[in-house]
């Protein structure tokens, strides 16, 4: 007996019939529809429309499909498209293989040091991807990587054990960077399920592991699938690691091919045209997701929930902890330590001795002439604003898509998700084309870009929880006289709050390190931390770039810590 199998078409119909009718005379629903439609148009439809327009008109302003003809005949772009598919598949499989078990261990077992594990996973997510690559090269380059050197010297190996300049290395870096999405989404969903299902299974004789595999995990399938979709789209649009490692490993993906089209010589129309198949990829991913979720009902929060029971690991408690710490340490602590060492190196390439370490590069960070501090201020303003906008819009959109029986809900979710699959640099170009007349050179245009890019995270996180919440709860409140707004605030929002909180933190961290769109959209006075990092990398000052990246991690972690201190207790416990 599994969660999903308990339901069938009849139950599905019943659940659908419980949905609130679509009524524009309901002011709350009318405002929600207006806000979501406006957001869809402003954040995605307008920029994509600008790109489509640009790709189908030639320099003389005449309709032309030359860019698309080039697209389907260019073998390099076709190969990049195929590579992108494999890359997405491997990265997503890796993220699920690492993220789901660790989420289950943290949310549903008595494994110790949960705070430590969560913190380390957060660090893995926060380190900017383009600097994460440099940290990994520093550690695992075949000839010069310090980790390789250390292992060769300690274990007496004849050849270095790691080579990060390979397709496997690229998949590893991307997986290490993205699995926190799966971890946080699944952990939040696991903490929210009604434990009575598991208790029933146990009473019917199922063992702990069988219960976990056949009851618990299927119940959080929406979160698993949703976060897998995010990982797929993130891998599809990822640029930092594929650009650096892909060049060395002789492997190109769509995002790097598009970047190449913007440079020597610049072919913006072709770049825009190349981005459009990505819309098809995104829609394909969403179709698969919907196809699976539509067949099942995942309602597990019915208002009768009791406190979750943590599974005791018994003698395996500490061995399990060691295994988790090894994984998390390998993907998070190790690159962060490499980053810290890199930021302290006086002379890159020279021997790693105490004499070669010092705080000089941090002085450059605090040097007023390098305008690092204004960029920190701008980054914080943008990250807080974007995370808040995304969460508010994400809750509104998820509620509308799942609860209102309005036509075109599928289209709304597709539009929202398209922004995540687009390569950031092209989305940045689209937003620039859309808003250049009124917002160019302001923080607002960067905010629009950040929200367009990261709204899908809030939407996906919240939506997977909305799927778990029975509409009966809201209906009961309505029957007892509460208005729609009151039932939303008192009933729905408290259940969604953990997912909203985690989405806020993730988006906040992502915005602090967002680089490809920022590189296009920043102007004098609107620089952000990531563009400063890039500027130092371009200048060959990798150590200063590492110092700013350490600052990004510290600011992110400090913000998360402050948020945790002031967050309600049930959020901290994901319950």
């Amino acid at each position: 007996m599994t969660g999903p199998s308990m339901t069938g078409p009849k139950l599905k119909e019943k659940a659908l019939s419980r949905r609130f009718g679509f009524a524009l005379d309901d002011p709350i629903q009318f405002i929600a529809v207006a806000v979501v439609l406006l957001a869809c148009v402003a954040l995605v439809v307008l920029p994509v429309a600008m790109l489509v327009t640009y790709s189908v008109f030639d320099d003389g302003g005449y309709l032309s499909f030359k860019a698309f003809a080039l697209l389907v005949t260019d073998t390099g772009i076709i190969a990049a498209g195929v590579n992108s598919l494999f890359f997405m598949a491997y990265v997503t499989a890796g993220c699920l293989a690492v993220g789901v078990p660790i989420a289950w261990l943290v949310a549903r077992t008595d494994v110790p040091a949960k705070l430590c594990i969560r913190g380390a996973i957060a660090i893995a997510f926060i380190i900017p991807s383009f600097i994460n690559v440099i940290a990994w090269i520093f550690l695992a380059a075949p000839n010069s990587g310090y980790l390789n050197k250390l292992l060769v010297s300690w274990l007496g190996l004849s050849r270095p054990p790691f080579n990060i300049f390979t397709f496997g290395g690229l998949v590893f870096i991307e997986t290490a960077h993205l699995f926190p999405i799966v971890f946080f989404a699944v952990a939040a969903a696991l903490a929210n399920i009604d434990p009575s299902h598991e208790q029933a299974a146990r009473m019917l004789g199922a063992g702990r592991w069988r219960t976990a595999a056949t009851i618990t995990l299927p119940l959080v399938a929406p979160a698993i699938i949703a976060s897998a979709t995010l990982c797929m789209l993130d891998a599809l649009s990822s640029f930092g690691a594929p650009a650096a490692i892909g060049t060395m490993a002789n492997f190109s993906v769509l995002s790097t091919a598009i970047y190449g089209l913007l440079t020597y010589p610049p072919r913006l129309a072709l770049a825009a045209a190349t981005s459009l198949p990505i819309v098809l990829y995104t829609l394909g991913c969403l179709w698969l997701q919907q196809h699976y979720l539509r067949r099942n009902n995942f309602v597990t929060v019915t208002g009768k929930a009791s406190a979750p029971q943590l599974m005791g690991l018994g003698a395996w408690r500490y061995p399990t902890l060691m295994l988790v710490l090894m994984i998390v340490g390998g993907v998070a602590v190790l690159p962060f330590c490499a980053l810290v060492v890199l930021s302290l190196l006086k002379s890159f390439g020279s021997a790693l001795t105490i004499g070669n370490l010092g705080p000089e590069h941090y002085r450059a960070v605090f040097d007023a002439s390098f305008t690092v501090f204004p960029s920190v201020r701008n980054s914080l303003i943008l990250a807080v604003s974007a995370a808040t906008c995304c969460v508010v819009l994400g809750i509104t959109t998820a509620w509308l898509v799942e609860r209102a029986a309005m036509p075109g809900r599928g289209i709304i979710s597709a539009i929202v998700m398209v922004g995540y699959g687009f390569p950031s640099i092209i989305l940045g170009v689209g937003i620039m084309l859309g808003y250049i007349d009124i917002l160019y050179g302001t923080l607002t245009i960067i905010l629009i870009a950040y929200v367009a890019r990261h709204l899908p995270i809030a939407f996906v996180f919240v939506r997977s929880l909305v799927k778990q919440v029975s509409p009966e709860l809201e209906e009961a409140a309505r029957i007892l006289g509460a208005g729609r707004l009151r039932s939303l605030i008192d009933i729905t929002y408290p259940v969604l709050r953990p997912a909203a909180f985690i989405a806020w933190l993730l988006i906040f961290s992502l915005c602090l390190r967002e680089q490809p769109m920022s590189a296009i959209l920043t102007q004098s006075g609107t620089e952000v931390m990531s563009t400063m990092v890039l500027q130092f990398i371009e200048d060959g000052s990798i150590e200063v770039a590492a110092a700013i990246s350490v600052l990004i991690v510290v600011v992110s972690m400090a913000s998360i810590t402050v948020a945790r201190i002031f967050a309600p207790r049930e959020i901290l416990e994901m319950r």
Binding site: Y54, D59, G76, A79, A80, N83, I137, F138, A141, P142, N143, S144, F165, A243, A244, T247, M248, N250, F251, S252, Y259, G260, L262, T263, Y264, P265, P266, L268, K346, S347, F348, G349, S350, S369, F370, I425, V429, M432, L433, I436, D437, Y440, G441, A519, I520, T522, Q523, S524, G525, L534, Q535, F536, I537, E538, D539, G540, S541, I542
Partner: protein, 357 residues
């Protein structure tokens, strides 16, 4: 008493020396302001000027300080960008019919030629136009070269203590003993590598059969010159047939174990290019800025900040750099509108030869 007199003499000598040293600078400041007083007056009414640059931060800082000291009342807004971001930004602005930049400054001659063809530049003849060498100013004044750098070979100084062991010519790099030891920027991503290889092919110093042999050397390709510097300095690969000089020198100044040397073929010279953009929002200030950037007074200081060689024949030499003539400079062919097609053909063949995706 004698001691006091001596001390007074010493102070007097110090003050005199200080005054003598200070005088040329202030005199230069006076002269540049006076020299362009009409433009300065017109620029003051426009209040600001906007520069997009892919130059180094130190160079931008020096330009900012120089400008503030000489042209108060006209705010210089410098927007630093990487080359690809700068190119994408200007292309997007133009596509949207927006003209937000007054002067662009970058090191991609092929893109400059394309932009000239697309009429992105506003041709303007500077005051020193006639004094500039033909390869330092576009014939129509569309763009100018404030500074240049070279593309010499580079090596790890910890690995090669004896410079005589180094390959002396490009052909020497094809020796099997260097297999697995070379790093090179990917010409698909690195404009400097593209310039280097196309210049070497165009001038007959390399041919495709050489490149076919190079393809067997297990060359590690990276995206940019700073990446190549890191690979050499870390010892990941000990040799590079070319890396931009300023990247090597900056790393060397920081104590990294890397240095450059000149091959028997010589080293390719790359020009940075600055031009006034058509329909610039601050046309007079843009002219003033391009005059300053190409003036001998400013070029010396700005080039020193970027570790470049000033292009103007009257500009003072940068003390930390060797004489450019000693590096056997090879001029790259002047950029032309045909370059775009040539680049596409070159990259296609390069990918086929090296099996690159």
């Amino acid at each position: 008493m004698r001691i006091a007199t001596s001390l007074m003499n010493l102070v007097a000598v110090f003050c005199l020396a200080n005054a003598l040293c200070a005088q040329p600078a202030s005199a230069q400041a006076d002269s540049i302001q006076k020299k362009f007083s009409n433009l300065y007056q017109a620029a003051t009414k426009e209040a600001e000027v906007i520069l997009y640059t892919d130059g180094r931060q130190e160079q931008a800082q020096r330009l900012s300080e120089y400008w503030k000291a000489n042209f108060p009342g006209v705010a210089l807004r410098i927007v630093p960008k990487s080359s690809p971001a700068l190119i994408a930004q200007i292309e997007t602005e133009r596509a949207a019919g927006q003209h937000r930049v007054d002067v662009s400054h970058m090191s991609q001659p092929y893109v400059a030629a394309l932009w000239k063809q697309k009429a992105f530049y506003q041709p303007y003849r500077t005051e020193s136009f006639e004094r500039l060498r033909p390869d330092n100013a576009d014939a129509d004044g569309a763009f100018y070269t404030p500074d240049v750098y070279t593309l010499p070979a580079a090596y790890n100084t910890d690995v090669f203590k004896d410079k005589s062991q180094l390959p002396q010519s490009l052909i020497d790099f094809l020796d099997p003993r260097w297999k697995g030891k070379l790093v090179l920027g990917d010409p698909d991503a690195s404009g400097n590598t593209l310039t280097f290889l196309m210049t070497m092919l165009a001038t007959g110093r390399l041919d495709w059969s050489n490149l076919e042999q190079l393809a067997k050397q297990d060359v590690l390709f990276v995206r940019s010159n700073p990446d190549a510097v890191r690979m050499v300095a870390s010892g990941e690969r000990a040799l590079a047939p070319m890396i931009s000089s300023f990247n090597i020198m900056t790393a060397r100044m920081k104590g990294q174990p890397i240095d450059f040397y000149v091959l028997t073929e010589g080293s390719v010279v790359v020009q940075s290019l600055a031009g006034i953009m058509r329909d610039a929002p601050h046309p007079s200030a843009a002219k003033l800025l391009i005059e300053v950037m190409t003036s001998p007074q400013a070029e010396g200081s700005l080039s020193e900040g970027g570790v470049f060689w000033p292009a103007h024949p009257d500009a003072p030499a940068v003390k930390t750099l060797p004489r450019l003539a000693d590096l056997h400079p090879i001029s790259s062919p002047p950029p032309s509108p045909a370059d775009a097609a040539n680049i596409q053909a070159f990259l296609k063949k390069f990918k086929a030869v090296f099996g690159r995706q």
